[in-house]
């Protein structure tokens, strides 16, 4: 293990610190070992660590990515991370989101490029009227992009020069504002560049083609998006820079996700409500804190013994604690005048008839609206269902996994049995089979509402959000590369 981590208990904080110093391969190994040792666990820390790590991977100095290489690289890293701890689904989710970002950037680049490839090849021979058929090839990939790219190629197609293609490359073709610039630049480009150079262009190796984009990029570059400062090979730099931007956006999302969820607190909690929650989730605490500023309610807090009760007690007594920054603590709910009643998990059924709402925090949410949550959650949800008490799940989109639960048992992780019975009781631990599951599977039937950072959703709608956030190609990261290569 790298020297920087020695001396402290490894955790998310130490990992993030060490990221700056270690080289990438070491960081990946370190993260893998932290995952395996559960020194980084739970969705949010895993997600944060993954974004930081992938940021490093993408931003790897002295590496020039093209989209396919970058995708392959991220997939490769992602597979290793997921293999290290397949049940931390947030890792896989983030990897997929990053892959999605890369693909999007790549598509933005490729669409105009390949279009103009064809335009270049087609226009001299057959003219532009054949081209409307072309985007179909891309429409299966992303119909929107193909369609958006089409009209602007109609404009720039005729000149069909290397310049126009290279310039399109740097721009975001779906932005209508760019059309005019594209066209105008296309007009200016040196005519008569060979078809050969156009076709070569995607690789960007043509010395003929590179200088014009280099000179143009200061003009076109800044307008579509923040880009590299017009390096020698803009398309490579662009991918890198845009993907980095994309990952940073992802990090921002992780930062604000709780606040976004909490914003809807007042829409869901009314005065004098009696609410039940479970475990020490930050998201739930923030949600309740937001509600508590305006409204008074009573909170029953089940303690999630034996895996999370200490954190739960600490949350109730001292306020929730940010994982990434352990110095920061929020006010406890009690200081806002909310009556918090700590109960053992067993008492949930007894009290359920008086509870108005159950709020749960998931470990992961799956595509069909089911969720994995701390052990005990499904008993609570079931008790709520039988008492017709609504169950509300607060989950950031980053917890939403495209995995469809065919076998729920394999998703459950089992924890340290010594938390149930300490190993000092040797005879007991030796002869009795002690089981301590960490997670519970809660079926989508038991959930009434999801509140994500995108707003409230019915469990049955989650598959749409999954479709919005993950590319089909990325859902199975272990799928053979060729299958994707065909598409990409």
């Amino acid at each position: 293990m790298p020297s920087s981590v020695i001396g402290q208990t490894p955790s998310l904080t130490t990992f993030l610190k060490s990221l700056r110093q270690n080289d990438i391969e070491n960081s990946i190994e370190l993260f893998i070992s932290l995952l395996k040792r559960r020194q980084i666990k739970n969705s949010r820390p895993c997600a944060i660590a993954t974004t930081h790590l992938l940021l490093r991977v993408v931003a790897e100095p002295k590496r020039k990515w093209d989209a396919q290489k970058l995708i392959a690289r991220v997939r490769h890293v992602g597979r290793r991370l997921i293999a290290a701890q397949p049940r931390e689904m947030a890792v896989g989710n983030i990897v997929r989101r990053v892959l999605g970002v890369i693909r999007e950037v790549a598509e933005r680049d490729e669409d105009p490029l390949t279009d103009s490839e064809f335009s270049g090849s087609a226009s001299p021979i057959t003219g532009e009227f054949q081209r409307p058929a072309l985007p179909t090839r891309f429409s299966e990939f992303s119909p929107l992009h193909g369609a958006a790219a089409m009209p602007h190629n109609m404009h720039s197609g005729r000149p069909g020069t290397a310049d126009s293609t290279s310039m399109d490359f740097g721009s975001a073709p779906q932005r209508p504002a760019l059309l005019s610039t594209n066209a105008s630049y296309a007009g200016q480009g040196p005519p008569g560049t060979s078809l050969f150079s156009i076709l070569q262009h995607p690789q960007g190796r043509s010395p003929m083609a590179t200088p014009p984009p280099g000179t143009q990029s200061p003009v076109t570059g800044p307008s579509p998006s923040r880009k590299g400062t017009g390096g020698e090979i803009p398309e490579k730099l662009d991918i890198k820079a845009e993907v980095i931007d994309g990952i940073k956006e992802l990090q921002d999302e992780l930062d604000v996700v709780d606040n976004q969820i909490a914003e809807s607190a007042l829409d869901h909690i009314h005065s004098n409500e009696i609410i039940l929650t479970h475990t020490s989730s930050q998201t739930v605490q923030k949600f309740l804190l937001t509600a508590a500023r305006k409204r008074k309610f009573t909170l029953f807090h089940a303690e999630a013994y034996p895996n999370n009760h200490e954190a739960t007690h600490a949350t109730i007594l001292n306020g929730a604690q940010g994982e990434d920054d352990s110095n920061e603590r929020w006010k406890p709910l009690t200081s806002l005048g909310i009556t918090v009643i700590l109960i053992p998990d067993t008492a949930v059924f007894a009290l359920m008839s008086r509870i108005n709402k159950v709020i749960l925090a998931p470990h992961a949410v799956l595509a069909n609206g089911s969720l994995l949550a701390a052990a005990g959650a499904s008993t609570i949800a079931l008790a709520a269902k039988t008492h017709h008490v609504p169950v509300v799940v607060l989950s950031g989109v980053y917890k939403l996994s495209p995995v469809y639960p065919f076998d729920t048992d394999e998703l459950i992780e089992y924890g340290d049995p010594s938390k149930v019975v300490p190993f000092e009781e040797a005879e007991f631990t030796d002869k009795v089979d002690i089981v301590n599951p960490l997670y519970d599977w809660v079926d989508c039937d038991l959930v009434d509402l999801y509140i994500t950072n995108l707003g409230g959703q019915a469990p049955s709608y989650l598959y749409r959000i999954v479709a919005d956030h993950y590319r089909v190609e990325d859902i199975d990261l272990n799928a053979k590369q060729e299958a994707m290569a065909k598409k990409g």
Partner: protein
């Protein structure tokens, strides 16, 4: 939910008359005293401490106050407890003498010095009580023997302590232990000159014992049934019978009762229930029931090959004792915390549950958490079978676990430290923090300054400070009520009956005799 509230109230009033009138009266009296004492205490005037004592009245008062005090003592300081008690009690005593029920409003005016106290005390008092269940609170556990009536027999005294520390736990065990202690108490009884045993024994000798036991922990339904039976037996004695003969007769009857209603019954139930366990069964049970344990062990002795899953709960960890005894018997046992319930129910082929009491509407009152177990099993189509002696059948009805329940001291929920409770707990991380930090319990939790990397011990507050946090409460209910529809069968000594037959068996067994 709203519609449930009303029937619950009804059920409460409905079952009220079933408690004997004397009991009711006594309870009401104790409540009143306690309330008054509490009011007094809030106004807390330590200025007047002239220790006026007056015997007859004090006896009752101290009990109520001792109880109240207990609550307070724990509320104010979790450790040093009973120190301020005597003086305060004296003070209350005095004011109790002076002022009738209309008195309290005047008091703050009279002692202006003390008038700052109430505001400080008030939230603390509230702090221990969950409003929703406040009706269950007046009955509080006795912490020690201070203020116990002198009439209480030593055997009963010992029993009370054993019961309140859960050393004797479980409805039938408590019932048997109580009857055996009463036997000794009855043997030690001498009838005063101008009265007869049947008239005097119950009201003057047994009642203090019963009150004492009740102050240790609310009586179980089985104990109630046994007491009712015993009272009836004594009252119906021939007044002319010589005292020692009468006492011997009562003791013999008690032995017979224990034998018939519990010992033999247990055997019958175990024999009947073990037929439900077949080869390759997976029996799931929750917490610990003596009769379930017996059933399982008998089935094991008979050579049935099966597996047992013991689901356990905080804070009593009774299931661990059951698992230990099964382990010793060589059974294949699996031990799961309550949180893992969902994972094991689907493996089970049979759920065996013990009972605290079977209610007349077919619902089962048992250790808190049982309802969840039964619900899960019901949803998984695993038959839920309750083993219950008819002595635990009750005439009461209940719809939910709120009206009819027992609240255990919230301190039991604290993990480890405080020495008395240590054996139950896996060494809590918070242990070290208590001594260091609880010294300065800030009024409001104002964290965020020094919570550093080393998580638990550095924290400002541990659960032991719960009393100093104004809006925090700990709730530790003992029982919950399992809806009848989750129960496939109740096995009692009258045979295997559906839960709907509970009232019939109850009438037959407890009221018919």
């Amino acid at each position: 939910m709203a519609e449930q509230g009303e029937p619950a109230e009804q059920s409460k009033t409905a079952d009220e008359p079933k408690v004997s009138a004397a009991e009711l009266k006594k309870r009401a009296k104790a409540d009143k005293q306690a309330r008054r004492a509490a009011q007094k205490e809030q106004e807390k005037a330590p200025a007047e401490v002239p220790p006026a004592t007056n015997g007859a009245h004090q006896e009752h008062l101290t009990q109520a106050q001792g109880v109240q005090q207990d609550q307070k003592g724990k509320a104010t300081q979790a450790k040093g407890q009973q120190q301020p008690k005597p003086s305060k009690q004296g003070g209350q005593e005095v004011r109790q003498e002076r002022g009738g029920p209309s008195q309290p409003p005047n008091i703050p005016l009279r002692n202006k010095a003390a008038s700052t106290a109430p505001s400080k005390k008030l939230p603390k008092k509230d702090n221990t009580v969950v409003e929703l269940l406040s009706h269950l609170y007046p009955v509080q556990r006795r912490p020690n023997l201070a203020g116990v009536s002198k009439d209480v027999h030593p055997a009963v005294l010992a029993l009370g302590l054993q019961i309140s520390t859960y050393e004797i736990c479980g409805s039938s065990a408590r019932c048997v232990a109580m009857l055996l202690a009463f036997k000794e108490a009855i043997q030690a009884y001498t009838t005063p000159r101008d009265t007869s045993l049947p008239r005097h024994l119950v009201s003057h000798h047994l009642s203090p014992q019963i009150d004492y036991l009740r102050s240790c922990r609310p009586l179980a339904e089985s104990m109630g049934n046994a007491i009712r039976w015993l009272k009836k037996l004594i009252v119906e004695l021939d007044p002319d019978k010589p005292e020692h003969e009468a006492k011997d007769f009562v003791c013999e009857e008690i032995d017979r009762f224990v034998h018939e209603r519990i010992t033999v019954t247990d055997q019958a139930i175990a024999a009947s229930a073990q037929d439900q366990i077949r080869n390759d069964s997976v029996v799931l049970t929750y917490a610990k029931s003596a009769i379930v344990e017996k059933t399982i062990l008998q089935a094991h002795e008979q050579g049935t090959r099966f597996r047992v899953i013991v689901v356990d709960s905080r804070p009593l960890f009774e299931g661990k004792r059951l698992a230990t005894s099964l382990m010793r018997a060589g059974l294949e046992a699996q031990y799961v915390p309550f949180s893992g319930l969902a994972h094991v129910v689907k493996d089970a082929t049979l759920v065996l549950l013990g009972a605290h009491s079977m209610l007349s509407n077919g619902r089962l009152q048992s250790r808190v958490g049982t309802a969840s177990v039964a619900l899960r099993a019901h949803k998984a189509d695993v038959p839920v079978i309750v083993c219950c002696e008819s002595v635990k059948f009750s005439g009461k009805v209940a719809l939910d676990s709120i009206v009819l329940n027992e609240i255990a001291p919230p301190e039991e929920l604290l993990l480890s430290p405080i020495p008395e409770k240590s054996p139950n707990h896996p060494a809590g991380v918070a242990t070290t923090a208590v001594t260091g930090k609880s010294a300065a319990p800030g009024k409001s939790a104002a964290p965020g300054k020094d919570a550093s990397e080393d998580d638990e011990p550095a924290k400002l507050k541990t659960l032991h400070d719960w009393n100093s946090i104004p809006n925090l409460r700990l709730l530790n209910p003992m029982y919950d009520i399992t809806p009848a529809e989750y129960i496939r069968m109740v096995i009692c000594e009258y045979g295997s009956v559906p839960p709907s037959s509970v009232p019939v068996v109850h009438r037959l067994a407890n009221e018919g005799m």
